[in-house]
């Protein structure tokens, strides 16, 4: 892990990886949208409304996954003081919030025709709403301090505290009888979803993941560049020289 601690090394690695991830994201997202809208069959009960699933479910998976990543990065930042860990967590947060918002809105739009209601206070929906508030709270907290490292530490602690919400999100549909349907992909015994629907779902999920990876790398690069700019502006030539010559490479 210490190999990646060097920001310069990250800049070099990400410069090579990012175009591939971005290209992959475009390909998989395009394929995903195409499969979801044109190829996937309408559902026996839900008709064409089931197509919302191909947007709602990958967004939901990303919402939780990104928070998990944030929490791990925060733990690494607090325990090992890894210089990039804080940057990674802060870069990921707005992306996670975006996915959560898509999950909530698409879920609501799916719920109205299916359940007859835009919202219901069951365990799954409530815990995902709490997840959204945790993302927003994290972003607000990190930016609430004049000293950025203070904000980073506070955010890291908050991210870890909020991580208890993740198992609740995942298992809420098992622990309580909820309106939201139980797991049909990530479950012991394998997926129960129809094969014709699983494929577009997975393609979209891969697309979302590659999209996230590309933007995460971009945002971390931006943060590293920002810190170099700040150092240069402060006239600390030594620091600027140490972080090997910047994006001119």
């Amino acid at each position: 892990m210490h190999r990646f601690a060097n920001p310069a090394r990250f800049m070099r690695l990400s410069e090579r990886l990012m175009p591939w991830c971005a290209a992959g994201a475009v390909v998989f997202l395009a394929a995903g949208f195409y499969l979801a809208l044109f190829v996937a069959p309408p559902d026996y009960q839900q008709g064409e409304a089931v197509r919302i699933m191909f947007v709602h479910v990958p967004a939901a998976w990303m919402a939780s996954f990104v928070y998990l990543l944030m929490a791990v990065a925060s733990a690494v930042a607090l325990i090992w003081r890894h210089p990039l860990a804080d940057l990674a967590a802060q870069a990921a947060a707005p992306l996670g919030a975006g996915f959560t918002l898509v999950c909530l809105v698409s879920g609501s739009l799916w719920g109205q025709p299916m359940w007859g209601t835009w919202w219901v206070w069951d365990a799954r929906l409530t815990s995902v709403l709490v997840l959204f508030f945790l993302y927003l709270g994290y972003i607000a907290l990190v930016h609430a301090f004049d000293d950025p490292s203070r904000g980073a530490r506070a955010g890291a602690v908050l991210a870890l505290v909020g991580a208890v919400n993740l198992p609740i999100i995942k298992f809420s549909v098992d622990w309580w009888s909820t309106l939201h349907q139980p797991a049909s992909v990530f479950r012991i015994g394998g997926p129960t979803i129809d094969r014709a629907m699983l494929a577009p779902l997975l393609v979209m999920a891969v697309g979302f993941m590659l999209y996230f990876a590309s933007l995460l790398m971009l945002r971390i690069r931006t943060a590293i560049l920002e810190s170099r700019l700040r150092a240069a502006r402060l006239g600390e030539a030594e620091i600027a020289a140490e972080t090997v010559a910047g994006p001119a490479q």
């Binding site: 008709g47 064409e48 975006g98 109205q112 999209y211 971009l218 690069r221 170099r228 700019l229 240069a232």
Partner: protein
């Protein structure tokens, strides 16, 4: 074509859902790129003045 757009009567749910997703995906990317490009520009200005 009209059948496709109508989404079996669910158009007013399906299309906004896809719309929000596309908006978010493109919006985040646009904001992140703009942020990066702005700093790129600043960095090249600064390294240009320092090289002189």
């Amino acid at each position: 074509m009209m059948d496709f757009l109508a989404m079996g009567g669910y158009a007013r749910f399906v299309w906004p859902a896809y719309g929000v997703a596309v908006l978010m995906l493109m919006g985040m990317a646009a904001v992140s790129l703009r942020s990066w490009r702005r700093r790129q520009r600043l960095w090249s200005e600064i390294s240009a003045t320092r090289r002189r």
